[in-house]
């Protein structure tokens, strides 16, 4: 089982870097992972807004929202989404937000 370490904490992640134990998520984790998802520097407010949006949605409905909904609810378009998360919402945003790994439709 791969692990990453940050600020003295060790996180178990899978091969793709998704958290193995979703309860372990915290903001440092997200920040630490940003660079692997092609995000330069520290996460901006816009990043956090989306990350928290995803987490809230996931907590409320048990699923990740569909992309169209993400865009609508946050008043952004696909272009903006990929600017913020260059590796895409499924791989980039969900990983940082500590959601369970999107499956299936690939």
């Amino acid at each position: 089982m791969p692990t990453i370490e940050l600020a003295g904490k060790t996180y178990e992640v899978d091969e793709d870097g998704f958290l193995e134990d979703l309860d372990k998520w915290n903001e440092e984790f997200a920040q630490a992972y940003a660079s692997t998802e092609d995000i330069q520097g520290t996460l901006t407010e816009e990043h956090w807004k989306l990350i928290h949006y995803l987490r809230n949605y996931f907590q409320q409905f048990g699923i990740a929202p569909m992309i169209r909904k993400v865009c609508k609810d946050n008043g952004i378009d696909m272009k903006k989404l990929y600017e913020l998360f260059p590796t895409g919402p499924a791989k980039g945003a969900c990983k940082l937000a500590g959601l369970s790994k999107p499956t299936g439709c690939v």
């Binding site: 793709d16 092609d38 569909m66 992309i67 169209r68 590796t87 895409g88 990983k95 690939v106």
Partner: protein, 396 residues
């Protein structure tokens, strides 16, 4: 001689059909990845079970699709396939290649991956079979350099594909190659950045023979057809008559609408009854040709069985002329995708959504007329909905 390490797979090098095992072995000579694949596959043959873990989400920058992540469940035994992702490369319309283009693909793949491919995947892509995560971006960069791009995966528009059509076939009623290329170029964003409830496939066959199995495998099927009379060349009919083709038995008797008459000299087609099945034309290509007013039927909803059973695409627009710049069809696709994205549940294909909400809702949203061509037969159940404007509202 040393005992083979792959005795089971070796069995599949025997026989007349070209062997995929030989292919893997060829690649294995150069690539440790291919070599580990070979041995992991041998283990699968022994265990009768696959040895890949579930899923994998990897990709390249700026794209949400085009790569299928894959990890071995025995990285202890096969470290070189610990990660073994495939890259879907969008093929040129009709799978035509000049050898230099193919060779450049090979060069890139030898540099970055296992040296194994699928020519092609069922959707249509050239599949580059197996590489590690850190090669993905560089491989993609090299592909771009060489003029190639990735195909679709995930909840995206998938790589459209088409039959050879006007490139080689006398029956093409639409320019399948051009339309396919045009749509692919037009919808790059939809292919590379998943934004739909689920996958969406477009396939184009230039005549009802449907050589790209569009009706069975596409959410949006474009199939060429014609209006007006089948063109007959009487001289060639006579030639067939004196060949070993039995026109009555093999052609007329098998016409599904029985709309042909053959008196031994003249072939008559009652075109108003013809349903353009292609059978007679298929059998007498020199004598018969599709009518001159050509275009396509648009059908929607085709898909494989998961979740609610397989669907074959259904007639939506009986006839559409298709000429560059293809505005009408592009607009239709956009409106369909929009309705679907707005109403579809996660992992719900277009056909399933139409099934759930009803054709009438779909037609109304698209502002398309209902026509008898859309159905095999009208409904048998009396569960008819009326629109509010049909009903007298004043009462009670």
């Amino acid at each position: 001689m040393a005992k083979s390490e792959t005795p089971l797979l070796d069995e599949l090098e025997k026989g007349k059909w070209p062997s995929f095992v030989t292919e893997i072995k060829k690649a294995a000579e150069k690539s440790p990845m291919a070599n580990d694949l070979l041995h992991q596959l041998e283990l699968s043959y022994k265990d009768r079970i696959g040895h890949w873990k579930h899923g994998g989400i990897v990709g390249v920058k700026g794209y949400g699709s085009g790569v299928i992540g894959r990890y071995s469940d025995r990285p202890d035994l096969f470290p070189n396939v610990q990660a073994f992702h495939t890259i879907r490369v969008n093929h040129p319309s009709g799978w035509f290649y000049k050898t230099d283009a193919l060779r450049s693909l090979c060069d890139i793949w030898d540099k970055h991956g296992s040296g194994l491919t699928n020519m092609h995947g069922s959707t249509g892509d050239a599949i580059l079979l197996g590489t590690t995560t850190d090669h993905l971006q560089t491989c993609f960069d090299d592909l771009s350099e060489a003029g190639f791009d990735l195909g679709g995966s995930g909840s995206a528009l998938r790589t459209p594909s088409c039959c050879v059509g006007p490139g080689r076939c006398e029956w093409a009623c639409v320019d399948s190659l051009d339309l396919c290329h045009h749509l692919t170029m037009n919808f790059q964003d939809e292919i590379h950045r998943p934004m739909f409830p689920y996958k969406f496939k477009i396939k184009i066959s230039a005549c009802p023979n449907d050589c790209v199995a569009s009706i069975a495998r596409a959410d949006f099927s474009v199939i060429g057809t014609w209006k007006g009379d089948i063109r007959i060349d009487p001289a060639e009919v006579e030639a067939y008559a004196s060949s070993d083709l039995n026109i009555q038995r093999e052609v007329c008797d098998l016409c599904p609408t029985r709309c042909m008459e053959w008196d031994g000299r003249q072939l008559k087609i009652f075109n108003e009854d013809c349903t353009r099945c292609m059978h007679c034309i298929n059998l007498m290509p020199k004598a018969l040709r599709p009518g001159e007013e050509q275009g396509a039927t648009i059908l929607v909803g085709g898909k494989a069985p998961i979740v609610e059973g397989a669907l074959l695409s259904w007639v939506l627009v009986p006839f559409m002329k298709l000429e560059p710049p293809y505005e009408e069809i592009k607009d239709l696709i956009l409106r369909i995708q929009d309705w679907w994205s707005e109403n579809g549940r996660s992992r719900e294909r277009l056909g399933e959504l139409i099934k759930r909400l009803g054709m009438r809702t779909f037609l109304r949203a698209l502002d398309l007329p209902a026509t008898p061509q859309m159905v095999k037969a009208p409904r048998t159940n009396p569960y008819v909905f009326f629109w509010p404007e049909d009903i007298q509202q004043e009462v009670k």
